[in-house]
Symmetry: C2
Subunit: 364 residues, 2 copies
């Protein structure tokens, strides 16, 4: 098992990564406060791992309640959040209680947000069971639900007490979701660490074969890179925005194609190609580095063009969607661009014609 | 105008108190971030003060949207919160936008909580227009809505950027609400400051006549006392609980009599008498000091007995209601008791028989 720490002063916390650790009572025990435990999970994850987690919590001395929500993005809603609160209140979870988020990004966002505002905040643990959640959403304290007028519009920064990432849970993950998670791993490399990109180029096949050692390293390295950025800028005032490489385009793709057509990581992958093409058009990035990104994404089995996924979206429509995105500051869309492999930078001085050209270039 | 500061490090903020300051553009100007302003108020306060606040914000350069909710505790609901979000999103309020809570405690709690979780947190100003809000709920950063299974169960700690307390707005406050606010003022004295109790004993008649200078002093002193406690214990891990003097009994009275039968301050007043009687039974407080409390509350026109308000509640029922209150820690109800006038202390070792006796004594 590997351990690392997110350095956030009084809110610092450990991340434990390794195969077969989901049932380790000693990882849960330090976080039980005596006020009961509520495990929030979904109907796909519950039959696979809920019993293991419950046994570990029982052994650690917790009084465990279970809340099972539906699978999928629709669970990030007021309705489901209220169902979680009903359960916490019926179980009389106190302020010294603990919420455990067991599942992927949706469960983590929902349960984390519930913990953030239940009785003005109770502690929680992240136990991510998808690659996307292990390398990205479980780290950094962002929690949220969706609103009819926008994704993640209602939420809170609420750091977990710990993250327990069992890479063995990825054995039950569908291929497409594994690849979607790899897109965020690749993002961490291209945005922040050139040597990690090289490691990924050498080990992508092992990752696709779900080799436990390779997965442990990829999750660890991703968390390390993300944790460094989060520690420097917890509330996304500046540097943390670099983690959004590929996301401005990616969100527009997700929205334009209709939620569900693209998995989040897939959209981020195609979005990164657009952002890289734009970086090249701005004169910052070498064309050969754009090709390196395309190639690695392709080897990971990710769609690099809109057409690969059967989506037809005019460049104008994508640009329009980006303008309404919440990352738009004072009327101007901000882009995370690459200066080189492993070095992202924030730019808001981007000519819209270049954005259009980049979208066209990405489609080639 | 008097100014004081809540010392909370990076989250420190000023409180401005005085007559006729609600329309002072210079108090709003420093807090406008360029991302639009939403004034959240209710249908009673809007016709009285919304135009003045809007003009001040316009003058300060803000783009102002207004959200008017219904008057009363029922507005602390999911439904109303969602209506606020609809309005903020339609107005495209950004992360650098500002929410202004204009009204009493309900508006402050609702708008403050909306600001706490809209786009994971935007800044807000408190512009309290009731005495209760000016001396208590607008200071300290507690925000919340209610859940069917409990009051203030869902919420956040979110400090305002500033509090603007115009005591002239109290001229339009119904007598009963003024007296309800005075209960919290009296609470601050009895829990924390004996010399303030003496000042209140000399000036209670001026306060009831809504003398601007007396009100300014009472609001200032209350905020000062509360701010000191909040600065020492922002998230209510210890000392802050002292501010709940009278509240454990008070909440039980509110719930037992049905919400609305007792105003919050009225219930806290009667609750303080019970807590004081209990303190005397525990041997901590002199009987003459219990009488001082009763007398001051009586002069403020507050009901000191359940029967004064026509409420009949058996001691057993009150005890039962206190046990389910969220302040119950690990099965034992904690009480804020008085060691002397101006000195409250937290006790969890209270014999239930004494609690029953205290309730009976308070009814005499």
């Amino acid at each position: 098992m590997e351990n690392l720490r997110v350095a956030l002063g009084a809110r610092a916390y450990p991340i434990h990564i390794g195969p077969g650790i989901i049932g380790a009572a000693e990882l849960y025990a330090p976080h039980l406060g005596g006020g009961g435990v509520a495990v929030v999970t979904n109907e796909v994850v519950a039959p696979l791992y809920a019993e293991k987690v419950k046994r570990a919590l029982d052994k650690a001395g917790g009084q465990v309640t279970q809340v099972v929500v539906k699978d999928g993005e629709d669970s990030k809603s007021w309705q489901t959040l209220n169902r979680v609160f009903d359960a916490l209140l019926k179980a009389r979870l106190g302020r010294d209680g603990l919420v455990v988020a067991l599942g992927g990004g949706v469960v983590g966002d929902l349960a984390g947000f519930a913990a953030a505002i239940y009785q003005r905040g109770v502690p929680f643990l992240q136990v991510p069971t998808t690659l996307l959640a292990q390398v990205d959403s479980s780290v950094g304290g962002k929690t949220a639900i969706n609103h009819a007028l926008g994704k993640n519009m209602i939420g809170a920064f609420h750091q977990p007490l710990a993250v327990i990432s069992d890479v063995s849970t990825l054995d039950t993950l569908p291929d497409r979701e594994l690849r979607s998670g790899l897109a965020e791993v690749i993002k961490h490399g291209f945005a922040l660490d050139a040597s990690f990109v090289e490691w990924l180029e050498r080990n992508i096949d092992l990752l696709l074969k779900r080799d436990a050692a390779a997965l442990t390293h990829a999750v660890r390295k991703s968390c390390e890179l993300k944790a460094r950025v989060v520690a420097a800028d917890e509330r996304e005032a500046g540097e943390r925005a670099l983690l959004n490489f590929g996301h401005t385009f990616g969100h527009a793709i997700e929205t334009g194609a209709g939620y569900g057509a693209w998995l989040h990581g897939e959209a981020v992958g195609a979005g990164m190609v657009m952002a890289a093409e734009l970086s090249a058009l701005m004169g910052d990035l070498k064309k050969t580095d754009v090709s390196r990104l395309r190639e690695l994404l392709g080897r990971a089995g990710l769609p690099v063009r809109l057409s690969s996924q059967g989506t037809a979206l005019a460049p104008e429509r994508l640009i329009e969607l980006m303008a309404v995105d919440k990352k738009a500051a004072k009327g101007r869309t901000r882009f995370v661009l690459l200066e080189s492999v492993g070095r992202a930078a924030l730019r808001s001085d981007v000519d819209e014609r270049l954005v259009r050209q980049a979208i066209v270039a990405a489609a080639q």
